[in-house]
Symmetry: C2
Subunit: 460 residues, 2 copies
């Protein structure tokens, strides 16, 4: 059905790599609410964050400036794999027999195989410039841990990664990848922290979660004045760095004489979703462009579609400030789905505000449908997507099928946030029919949210 | 040391994808010798090959034409990942402090993650056009098996892959990749063929080899008139298809105002080496260009550096015609190195003739040096190379270091034939110091070659 009027792959020349990131806060009608101190319920200031982050990142966390310069050394490293290609999904369009034009931005070309190095390199750079010698972090499926391993070794920074245990066991190659780039990695919960030891004492088989791993990484960082902490998603400065994706995509769509009616990204903490969508949302917010922007989560971790917009901890133990977020409650333990990077109980402040204001929408996808979409994508477009990214593929297929049924020639853009080469064990289980869908009951969610009521965390 | 005067990545526009492959036979001073029938020692004709290959591929096997058209449907599929990028290794140059300019062509961007789909798609196309419904093949590290799985499913052809057992166990994800693309795969030696059953009866723990796997695949193909066989290297038509790599690279080097003094490819059966080098060799053969062209093999399977140029079987059991090749003897069982794609006892007829005529040279690399090179490459250029490709990286590093010592500003081009995402188990063992070098004694080689004397296989 599709007509090949343009090249399949659209490359932006290297010299057109963006010189600034885009800060959507400047254009939001309702600004994101500030994080609160859990005891006083007062906004936390830059000083409260100083034990965790270098000054420059704290400034970026709160800046209202529309554009933030990308430091030249970071741009030089970006050029190792950026600008990433924008690809027209001619083969997928044909298989779906859809009148929709489908484009995807492919972030799997990076060293770690996902969008994560975009912020990892920036964070490592700012830490190094302020003399930091060691960083701690958490990782779900391992995308973030390997990205930060790659980035920290470039700046001679030591790294300790806490990897969610269920993913550590599912994806042993991720550990190797981190080791190749000099990262140290342990399964979380671990014996390296009080948090980990306490959880293991109560439940030696605890499969871990991003929330627990964050707690461990923060604990280790705050106990050592020479160690900082790094987060791969959720926070404003992380989302800021990822906007390089959408900024490139806008130029590339222009090269293809196209503009998206729908922009789609999978959703864990929000970083790849923000990366692809915020630069397009600028057109919606400032120029009234009509456009749907969809965040896609697994239906087994449905904070956007079934959670509550209120203050909650970013981690499980309660070491972070209270963040205004769509949340399932920080005690929510997501089922052991293979999209490890989407197993997080909350969403960042900016995305939550945008969702609450009706500027973006959300969708939830069952695990089996996501793998089915991943296989179709591999057989048509030739790229095996990461289990996280298959969620964006799934929503894209849904929209393209709807377009066929309605006879609408819409244009869809989605972010293929990473390849699935390290996740083939998950595909093996899918092909062997060894994995299934999970359901989360309303009672489960209500129970976890009630804890927040009991703790007096404000609703918004 | 390096100065960034050009972009790091050089993309050839899609419309400049070559329209023909280059056939080096047309320009060789001494043409490759014909394959012989093992009993009569007379040249085999096209009819002898008809049970194995479609007519068009048999014609390509013997053609003397300088250029062969790439069918338009094949070009359209190529565009899913081609033209592949040419990359300037600025970061590696800096780490080596070398005055050498290093470029690499990166074939890891293909669906299967290596150069193999270049010929897999072409072979599947010609088979489909001649009505073939099923294909058999062998695979070493799994690169070829997954490439052919990807290609055959595009043309609705069923595929049976025999995967060398040692690699099957080392790289379980390769099986999954083949399954995603509908390929059936068994470890070889297998119980599916008489050849396999016989070997297993004598030695149930036989680790397999490419030679054995080829025997199994051919046996299954010749027993069924509706089944053909497909080979991922060695043969002339396979090398022909791979020249798309070097043809693109020539245009990209021109875009970078550069021309290589040294061209390097790793060497198993010769396909990626031929792919990168033959189009440049054309300049050496027809225009007297001064250039070194180096085939790099593992020192544990040293057919080019320590084998003999003579007729031998292409497989272990003796189902193929006799091929004029540098060989270690078809009974040579290569040690279980991780570069599974390089564990082959012989070399193709064209490459062997070029080596014998002094037009190209060969080099051998120990396993540990190759992994060390792979790690340095991953830490600098950000790409984790396939264990096979690390052999090309190793030789490149040797040449770049020599250039530094001699103060020469040479230009090196090598083919990074694939990424190592599916081979991370090998890197894990290297990092854990669990792998080592292997030595092959002169006696071992002499013993295997004596078998050829006893069988009356001609020396050249």
């Amino acid at each position: 059905m599709s007509k090949k009027t343009h090249p399949k792959k659209i490359y932006l020349p290297e010299e057109k790599l963006p010189k600034t990131w885009y800060n959507i806060v400047a254009d939001m009608p309702n600004k994101p609410l500030p994080p609160l101190h859990p005891a006083t319920k007062q906004p936390v200031g830059p000083d409260d964050l100083a034990p965790l982050f270098p000054v420059e990142l704290i400034m970026q966390e709160v800046t209202q400036e529309r554009y933030v310069d990308i430091p030249e050394p970071v741009r030089e490293i970006y050029k190792i794999w950026r600008p990433s290609p924008l690809i027209r999904a001619y083969e997928l369009e044909k298989a779906l027999d859809t009148p929709a034009k489908i484009y995807y931005k492919y972030e799997g070309v990076s060293p770690a195989g996902s969008h994560k190095p975009n912020t990892a390199v920036a964070q490592a750079f700012y830490n190094a410039r302020e003399g930091v010698k060691k960083i701690t972090t958490e990782t779900g499926a391992g995308q973030w841990g390997s990205a930060l391993s790659y980035a920290t070794q470039l700046f001679d920074i030591e790294l300790q990664v806490f990897m969610v245990k269920v993913s550590y066991n599912q994806k042993p190659y991720r550990k190797t990848m981190m080791n190749i780039w000099k990262g140290n990695v342990v399964p979380s919960p671990s014996n390296l922290t009080e948090t980990g030891r306490k959880i293991l004492a109560e439940d030696p088989d605890n499969p871990g979660s991003l929330g627990i791993a964050i707690s461990e990484a923060i604990e280790m960082a705050v106990k050592d004045p020479h160690t900082k902490y790094s987060l791969g998603s959720v926070l404003n400065h992380v989302l800021l760095h990822q906007t390089v994706i959408g900024l490139e995509a806008k130029e590339q769509m222009e090269m293809a004489d196209a503009y998206p009616d729908v922009v789609i990204g999978c959703f864990g903490g929000g970083s790849n979703f923000a990366g692809i969508s915020f630069p397009f949302l600028q057109d919606k917010l400032t120029r009234g462009k009509d456009m749907r922007v969809i965040a896609v989560e697994p239906d087994s971790c449905p904070k956007l579609t079934r959670g509550e917009f209120r203050y909650d901890f970013g981690d499980t133990i309660g070491m972070t400030p209270l963040i205004p977020m769509y949340t399932l409650g920080h005690n929510f333990m997501p089922p052991a789905i293979h999209a490890g990077g989407l197993r997080y109980h909350g969403a960042g402040a900016i995305v939550s505000q945008l969702l609450n204001d009706g500027i973006i929408e959300a969708s939830a996808v069952p695990q089996l449908e996501s793998f089915e979409a991943g296989i179709l994508f591999a057989r048509t477009e030739g790229i095996i997507p990461a289990p996280e990214s298959t969620h964006a593929v799934t929503q894209t297929i849904r929209e393209a099928v709807k377009a066929r049924e309605e006879g609408k020639e819409i244009t869809i853009l989605f972010n293929l946030s990473g390849h699935g080469h390290i996740d083939l064990g998950a595909y093996e289980q899918y092909l062997n029919k060894e994995i299934h869908n999970y359901s989360v009951t309303d009672d489960q969610i209500a129970e976890n949210l009630k804890v927040l009521d009991d703790m007096g965390f404000p609703k918004i």
